[in-house]
């Protein structure tokens, strides 16, 4: 089967599920906990639609499409970093001390990535698009993957009961790891046609994979989160009985 058709199938399938998920999260009572997911999904959808529109209007080789592509790429990578930060916040909700440390670390990493990208950009001064944004996006993208893995390890370390967060983190891992691998492959094969088409296919496949995992996490695992909070009632009753208080 033509890889282009498969790729478009993944793309439009992902758009449909994204719209469904955005509506579901926006209408859900847990939307405060899922604000990062909502933000990232909205950015992903806006990016996809914006790029498709620009491609149809101006063509692949046009300067306008290039502007749209790199600007949306920049926005996407920033939203990915924010998403990981929000997941860290959710993981450290009960541990303020750890959150203070994590917040400092995240700020430091952000400044470090901006500085390194700026330094590398200074060698290609004069071309903002091909220089700073590309460099910054690639660096921050891989940083997000590493941070996401650290977050996964942190969740294991603190024995988190938040199963939904665990699945959301796994989804983000799929979304970041696949494209990072194909970007490296493209770099290694010096922009071969095969690597480019594989890159496009893997990007869409991974986005679809992440959305499927998120859909499961949002639709099915929230019930478990409710059960966890409900379990507090017998504990309260037990304490009240111990203190001879009627609840």
């Amino acid at each position: 089967m033509d890889s282009g058709i498969v790729s478009y199938g993944f793309q439009y399938g992902a758009y449909l599920i994204q719209v469904g998920l955005i509506i579901l999260v926006a209408r859900s009572s847990h939307r405060n906990r899922l604000v990062g997911v909502l933000l990232y999904l909205s950015c992903l959808l806006a990016t996809g639609l914006g790029r498709t529109y620009a491609l149809r209007m101006y063509g692949l080789a046009s300067r306008q499409y290039s502007y749209v592509y790199w600007t949306t790429d920049f926005l996407l990578v920033i939203s990915a970093f924010l998403l990981v930060c929000l997941f860290f916040r959710r993981a450290c909700l009960q541990q303020e001390k750890m959150w203070r440390f994590v917040r400092l670390l995240l700020t430091f990493i952000c400044v470090l990535v901006v500085s390194i990208s700026g330094l590398l950009f200074s060698h290609h001064y004069g071309n903002l698009l091909a220089g700073f944004i590309v460099e910054f996006s690639q660096n921050l993208y891989f940083t997000c993957l590493v941070l996401n893995t650290l977050l996964y390890l942190l969740l294991q370390q603190i024995d988190s009961v938040d199963d939904q967060l665990g699945l959301l983190v796994c989804g983000v891992g799929i979304q970041f790891a696949g494209p990072a691998a194909t970007f490296a492959l493209v770099h290694l094969t010096a922009n071969e046609g095969f690597a480019q088409s594989l890159n496009s296919l893997v990007n869409r496949f991974c986005t679809l994979g992440m959305i499927l995992v998120w859909a499961y996490a949002i639709v099915h695992v929230k019930e478990k989160a409710t059960q966890v909070t409900r379990r507090q009632i017998p504990v309260l009753a037990e304490v009240a009985a111990h203190l001879n208080i009627q609840v």
């Binding site: 790891a177 990072a180 490296a184």
Partner: protein, 158 residues
């Protein structure tokens, strides 16, 4: 060059790791009872006996037959998932993901067979996916059969 190769290896490993963990987390879902048993009996599925023989006796099995058993059970269960008591007549998000996981594990079984490493582990993973599918089908069938009826309502309607 070395950095790109390192990123390629690490990212590929991470991709498969996250994919596997996501599927394992989905498979850990607890059902309120063992729905799969009735589906296994009704459709003469063979994966529970296969798993039992592997877990309890570690019995070496005929590989072509094992592949055939797993494949037949998979085809039967995916058909039931789509068509039995399913109003939408399509797979849900986690079912699609697990179908992909099953295919990947099936491929990995062939590779493990060639390398002669961890064959049993792959078979157990495949059977756990099949058990999940059977549980989902059983739960759906059970919901449709009883609807919103209480046990007393059901008995009165008999």
């Amino acid at each position: 060059m070395i950095l790109a190769a390192l990123i390629l290896i690490l990212s590929t490993a991470m991709f498969f790791f996250y994919f596997q963990v996501s599927c394992q987390k989905i498979l850990r879902r607890q059902f309120d009872r063992e729905y799969f048993q009735s589906i296994v009996n009704a459709n003469r599925l063979e994966f529970p006996s296969l798993r039992k023989s592997l877990e309890e006796f570690g019995a070496p099995v005929d590989y072509p037959r094992l592949r055939m058993m797993l494949k037949c059970d998979f085809l039967a269960l995916t058909y039931l998932l789509k068509n039995a008591a399913n109003v939408n007549q399509r797979y849900s998000s986690e079912e699609r993901l697990l179908i992909l996981y099953f295919r990947w594990q099936f491929l990995s079984l062939a590779v493990r067979r060639l390398l002669k490493v961890g064959e049993k582990k792959a078979v157990l993973r495949l059977t756990s996916v099949l058990q999940y599918f059977a549980n989902v089908v059983g739960q759906r069938v059970n919901t449709v059969r009883f609807g919103n009826l209480t046990a007393a309502d059901y008995l009165l309607n008999l």
